[in-house]
Point group: C2
Chain length 411, copies 2
C-alpha cells in the first residue's frame, strides 16, 4: 500500500511557509507500514492540482492532501478533489453549526466567508476539526482513497491522530518499525565506515544520515508486529552500539538534550545554564521537554560583561585580562551559575556566533562544572560568513549538552 | 521561465528530515522572478528519480535538485541526472584534491568512499562547495537546465548564493517583488474581511495567510525593476496599513521580535526578560537577531519558585498567596528583572505550557514594566492536549514581544 502526499498552497511555492506537515505525515505513515513514495507541492491552481492528482494515482493507492481548506476563494482543494471523483458538494447544517459555535466560544462573529467550509463532498467521511473551522474529508472511489486535511499543523496533526490513523490501520498487515541511533562527535563518513558491512543488510536495513552537525543510523525492519521487528533489529543495534561506543548518545531519543535530561532525571540531579552567545538556547531546548522542571531551575542569559560580573560573579580582572570570550570567563560563568541555582552542574557558553568573516567567529568556549572540577573546551565550528549564526548557536548548545553528558557519565 | 524543485532522499520520505531547502530556494527564486510551480520529493531510487525528472521537464525549463550527492552508494542524484542527459562521469583530479584538503584541514584522513564525490558529469559546470565535500553541478541540454546542489542546508545555501544565483540572473527580465505585511492580534478571516476588495487586484496581488498564530498579507507586483514594483505596490500597502492600523507590526520584517527590536534600537532602549514557562524562548528569539547585544543584556529563566524569589526578588508571600502562575507573580518578576539588568523595560512570562488537558494549561500571564507602570495581561491560548507545548510557548513569547511593542509605542 503506497501513499503520496500533496501539499496545496501558493504560499509554500513562494517559500512563505516551512512545510512541516509532510515530515509529520511521512513519519506517521512509515510507522503504519504505509510507504510514502513521493511528496508534491502544488499551488492554489485547479488544473495543476488535477494533474498532480492524476499523476499520483498512476503510482499509489492513497493520496493525502494538506492545505487549501480555508475560507478564501483561492482555497480549492476540497472542490478540486470532489471534481476529480465526480462528486457534488452540498452544505451541511451540522458542520455550519460547529463552525458558528467555534466563533461563539472565542466571542467573535463568524465571518460570512467561513460558510464555504461547511460544504461537504457527497459520499465522503467528514473529519471533525477540534482546533479550527475547516473539517477534513476522506473520499473513496474505485479503490482510490483521497484524504484531505487542513494546512495549519495545529489542526492537521490532531485530526490525523484522531481520525486518519484509526481509518488507515485497517489497510496494514505488516508494519515498518525503525530505531534511530544517534551519535555525537563523529562524522557521517567515519561512522559509516565503522559499520560498513551492516549497511548491506536487507531486513533490517541500516542507513546513515547526517543532521544538524550529528550523524545518525536508522535501523528499519519489516515484520508482522512490533515484537517480531524488535527481534530482527536487536542483534544489529547491539553490534552498532558496540562498534560506535561512547559516540552513541541515544536510541529512539529525539535529541542530545533529551539524552542528557534522561541522565539527570535518573540521577535526580539538576543543571543550571549561564549563556552568552547562545542567548537562552540551551534553556529553551531543555525546557522544550515537558517535565524539565525536575532537573532545571535556573538559567541566566548574560549578554554583557556587566551582567557576567554582577549576576554570575565573573571577576572584573578575568573579563579585563582574558575578555568575555575565553576559557577563564567560561569557567567562572559555569561556577557562578551553579552556585546561584544550587544545582548539581553548572554549564556555560561564551563565544562569537557571528555573522562575520573575522577569524574569531565560530570560536566558542564551553565549561561544565560539578562544583569540584570544571572542564572547559574550545569549540571551533569553522562556520563564518552570512549564514553562520543559527548553525554556530545550535552546534554550541549541542556541544554543551554533550559535554555535560560526558561529565555525568564519568562520575 | 518556470522551475521545479526536486528533493532527493529516502530520509525525507521517512520523515527524518524537515525539508528547509525548498522553502529557501522557493523564496530565492521568487525574488528573481522565476516561478516555482511544483516541489517534488523522491527517494534514493534511480527509476523514480528518472520519472520525476521526465515529468518535471514536461512543464518547466529548470529543475533544481537537492540531496543525494553524498559518498554512500545510495547517493545517486548526479549519476541519474547524467544518465537522463546521456552524459558520462569522469574523475576530476582538481576536485579530488579539494576534497582531500577539506579533510586535511580538519586533521581527518579522507574516507575512501568520498572519492565518488570527485566524479563530474561531462560538459557540466562544477560548483565549488566551500562548506563540505560534495561539489554541485549545472548541466544544460536542448534548452533544459539541471542544477544539482548538496542536501545539507549549510552547504546548499552558500552554494546557491555564490554560484547559482549569479548563473540564473541572466534568464530573468522581469522580477517579482513582494512585501509581507505582518499583523498581531487579529485572525486571518477578520483581517481578510477588512481588505476584501483589495484581494481582487491583479498587479499587485494581495493574498492573506496565517502562520504561527499571526495573520499576514502578501502584496506581490511584477515589474521590470524594483523601483517600478515599489510604485505599483505603494498605494495598496498604504491603504492596508490605514485599514489595519495598530494590528500591523511590520512590513518586510521577519518577526514580532524583530519589529520590537527595531523600536528598542531606534530609541536606544534595552529590555530584560524573566521567563518561567517559556524557559528562555524570548531571550533565544531576541538573540537570534544579530546585534541584539545593543538592546538586550540580561535574561533570567526562573523555572522554580525558589529562583523566582531568590534571583528575581518575587516576595515569598506573593508566591504563597497567588502561586507562581498569577498576575501578581508576573508583575514582580518583570519588575525584579528590570532592576537586576538596569534595563529600560522588564518583561516576564509565567504560565502553564502543558501538555495536559487540565483547564490551567494555556493560561499565561505576561507583564511589561518600564519602572513606573506595569501592565499585566492574561493570555488564554485555548490549546491543551498532547501537542500544545510548542504552540503555547511560541504564542506566549510572541504576545510578550507584542505587549512590549505596545508599551514602547505608547510612550
Amino acid at each position: 500500500m503506497n501513499c503520496e502526499l500533496i501539499s496545496v498552497g501558493t504560499e509554500i511555492l513562494l517559500g512563505d511557509i516551512l512545510n512541516t506537515n509532510v515530515q509529520y505525515l511521512s513519519k506517521a505513515l512509515a510507522n503504519l507500514g504505509i510507504g510514502v513514495t513521493h511528496h508534491s507541492t502544488v499551488g492554489d491552481n485547479k488544473q495543476r492540482l488535477l494533474d498532480t492528482l492524476e499523476t499520483a494515482f498512476t503510482r499509489c493507492d492513497i493520496v493525502i492532501l494538506t492545505g487549501g481548506l480555508g475560507p478564501t476563494p483561492d482555497d480549492l482543494t476540497k472542490e478540486t478533489c470532489a471534481e476529480y471523483f465526480g462528486k457534488d458538494l452540498y452544505p451541511d447544517d451540522r458542520i455550519l453549526e460547529e463552525i458558528e459555535s467555534y466563533f461563539r466560544l472565542k466571542n467573535i462573529k463568524m465571518p460570512e466567508s467561513n460558510k464555504k467550509q461547511a460544504l461537504v463532498p457527497e459520499d465522503s467521511i467528514v473529519l471533525k476539526n477540534n482546533n479550527g473551522t475547516a473539517p477534513g474529508f476522506i473520499m473513496e472511489k474505485d479503490g482510490k482513497i483521497i484524504i484531505i486535511l487542513p494546512g495549519p499543523p495545529k489542526e492537521m496533526v490532531p485530526m490525523y491522530c484522531e481520525s486518519v490513523e484509526p481509518y488507515l490501520r485497517k489497510f496494514t498487515n505488516e508494519i515498518i518499525f525503525s530505531k534511530t541511533i544517534r551519535t555525537f562527535g563523529i562524522g557521517e563518513s567515519a561512522m559509516s565506515e565503522l559499520v560498513e558491512d551492516l549497511l548491506e543488510g536487507s531486513n533490517p536495513t541500516v542507513a546513515p544520515y547526517a543532521k544538524s552537525g550529528e550523524a545518525l543510523l536508522r535501523v528499519t525492519a519489516k515484520a508482522e508486529n512490533e515484537a517480531e521487528a524488535e527481534k530482527l533489529m536487536a542483534p544489529v543495534v547491539a553490534e552498532i552500539e558496540k562498534r560506535l561506543g561512547r559516540y552513541v548518545y541515544g536510541i529512539d531519543c529525539n535529541s542530545i538534550e533529551e539524552a542528557t535530561a534522561r541522565l539527570l532525571t535518573e540521577r535526580k540531579q539538576t543543571v543550571a545554564f549561564a549563556e552568552s552567545c547562545t542567548g537562552g538556547l540551551c534553556a529553551k531546548r531543555l525546557t522544550d521537554i515537558s517535565g524539565a522542571s525536575e532537573i532545571f531551575h535556573c538559567g541566566v542569559v548574560s549578554y554583557s560583561n556587566d551582567i557576567k560580573h554582577k549576576v554570575l560573579g565573573v571577576k572584573a580582572e578575568t573579563l579585563d585580562k582574558y575578555t568575555a570570550v575565553s576559557e577563564q570567563t567560561a569557567k567562572e560563568m559555569a561556577e557562578g551559575v551553579r552556585l546561584i541555582a544550587d544545582a548539581t552542574y553548572g554549564v556555560s557558553i561564551t563565544g562569537y556566533a557571528g555573522p562575520g568573516s573575522e577569524k574569531e567567529v565560530g570560536t566558542i568556549y564551553i565549561a561544565v562544572t560539578d562544583g569540584k572540577k570544571t572542564a572547559v573546551k574550545e569549540l571551533l565550528t569553522g562556520h563564518r560568513g552570512d549564514n553562520c549564526r543559527d548553525y554556530n548557536r545550535h552546534v554550541a548548545a549541542s556541544n554543551a549538552f554533550n559535554q555535560l553528558r560526558m561529565m555525568i557519565l564519568s562520575e
